[in-house]
Symmetry: C2
Amino acid sequence: MRDVSIIGIGQTEVGEHWGKSLRHLAGDAVLAAMRDAGVERADALYVGNMLSGELNGQEHLGALIADFVGLRGIEAVKVEAACGSGAAAVRMGYLAVASGLLDVVIVVGVEKMTDQKGPVTTASLAMAADAEYEVVNGVSFVSLNALLMQRYMHEYGVRHEDFAGFPINAHKNAATNPYAMFRKPISLETFKRARMVAAPINLMDSSPVADGAAAVVLAPSDVARKFQPLSVRIIGSANATDALAVHDRRDPLFLSAAALSAQKAYRQAGIGPNDVDFFELHDAFSITAALSLEAAGFAERGRGVYLAKDGEITLGGRIPICTFGGLKARGHPVGATGVYQVVEAVLQLRHQAGPNQVKNARIGMTQNIGGSGATVITHILAAEG
Amino acid sequence: MRDVSIIGIGQTEVGEHWGKSLRHLAGDAVLAAMRDAGVERADALYVGNMLSGELNGQEHLGALIADFVGLRGIEAVKVEAACGSGAAAVRMGYLAVASGLLDVVIVVGVEKMTDQKGPVTTASLAMAADAEYEVVNGVSFVSLNALLMQRYMHEYGVRHEDFAGFPINAHKNAATNPYAMFRKPISLETFKRARMVAAPINLMDSSPVADGAAAVVLAPSDVARKFQPLSVRIIGSANATDALAVHDRRDPLFLSAAALSAQKAYRQAGIGPNDVDFFELHDAFSITAALSLEAAGFAERGRGVYLAKDGEITLGGRIPICTFGGLKARGHPVGATGVYQVVEAVLQLRHQAGPNQVKNARIGMTQNIGGSGATVITHILAAEG
């Protein structure tokens, strides 16, 4: 294998883009990333997307988007791993460049979710869970996560308001991110008064349905500097899985795929959790953030929630998370999220994060989760400066 | 990069599998391929599938199938490129092993299409075309191809019955393939009397909607023989694209992505069309077979159809195609087809094709097409004996 670096990044604002189709959103992100990288061509385009068939009546996004951005002819496919599709596509791009067979690979994550009515989107998102054993019995994706949160609170004696630090941190960071969906801080009071979605998950525990696209350009590390003086190296990349159905897991409160994925990435990078300066985790729900911190080695079992409560996840804390707002406040266009995380990590490592900058950030980790923890893709990135 | 070989193959019968769910079909193929390879573990599972969301209410197939076959924890994703999804997944597996980062990678193509009513399947298949510029105007996937066939007949002065050789050859070869959906020969008379689907495409010009799964196990060539004495090497692999919408193409009667994909694969393999002993092409419709032969360099423009008419595509002909029945008669479970093609090519190169054997087959080519030619993946395989 050869080392791989990120030489360009691009993103669209996350929100309700009723005036732009899926190809336009993806195109905006790809073209921004190409401009940033200073490239006019590429060998391949890998698209991370979960629900274009169900919500947009369109499969075959690879060829569609490649042509739309002026790259007709190049290799192109879509990669899907539910809400982990974005980072799964990044990993495919990483493997392709690492192989030596492709040089410049663009990865775009895109999802357009707000054209459909709520029940259609809810039913589609449930396709991340087991259709024949979970969904057939009536669970939605949020109700599955509500069971996990309820169990966590019961097992560890945690109160619901102990989770408030997660959305408060996310919204605070999103306030200064021009690409975020919800650019306003929230208070503990907002959290307590939020409407219930599926008890105990309330509106402030939940990331929003959204439209958006983010893209990265990958190239071999040995030529990356020719394109981009601020290139960022991928020093760890891993994809690991677990049972799709929550009831099939050995311990539903331990995200074993997240742990395995993080361990593989740490091993490849030759580092451990203490070397990570910030962690873009997958806060689809507050409970997911807590479980991710535990699985990735930043907290003991049952203690992840206290990192939020004690302020250790803020920009100046021990392990900053969701530095641009996370899924909760930047927004969660599902197949795009994993690429947004990588784009944001690159901004941190380039020291271009403005008011959101984590001081002296040298190593960042991203972790994108598909379903309620069945596919987890971890990347560890390092500044090359 | 390092060289990659195929050390195991598996397939299910193609047909209407109402008694088996998608995971069972995929599982049968994966376990057969693992037994054939003599492996009990793998580093990753890549799933080729187009329509599991639309037709089976299930995304996130990577983790689902990995767990179902006893490989819980390994890297897994779904790869989609419409009807080219199967070979697109094979190519991802190829790149992953070539990178040196993964050793044993299983690729399974699976599609379960017959649980839904016809209109749902037809609408879902149309997602391979451009939703906003083609489908919105009323085209289905077969009507798009009917336009191409009509134009071909007009441009080159070809009669409809000149295409009959394609399905006649396919059905003849399927008759002795225990995995084929339609195991009976057809005559010219059958072809002429077949019901019209979308003029001029009749039922015998059309591959059937079907359920099925096929799998391959990939490993580095330098250790392949340890697993499998009859390993087959991938000497060329390429994915190329074209505009998704037919009206956007420079010349609708030339499959430029097929030509580009074939040229890239030929170049990598260091061979040309004359070196290819058989060609598993994508005969979704008779017209597609003719256009593929032309784009891949086996016939001049407008002459592909005569290879069928003159019998040059039969097992003993100049360039045998669809040696186990092709999409037309083996059946076309869309996301699985590209893997079936590779499995069949391996059987030929191992000289395990029984009555379907192409004599002295040493080099075989497979070409899997997404949409009406927008994504084309070509593989060239060589016997290592």
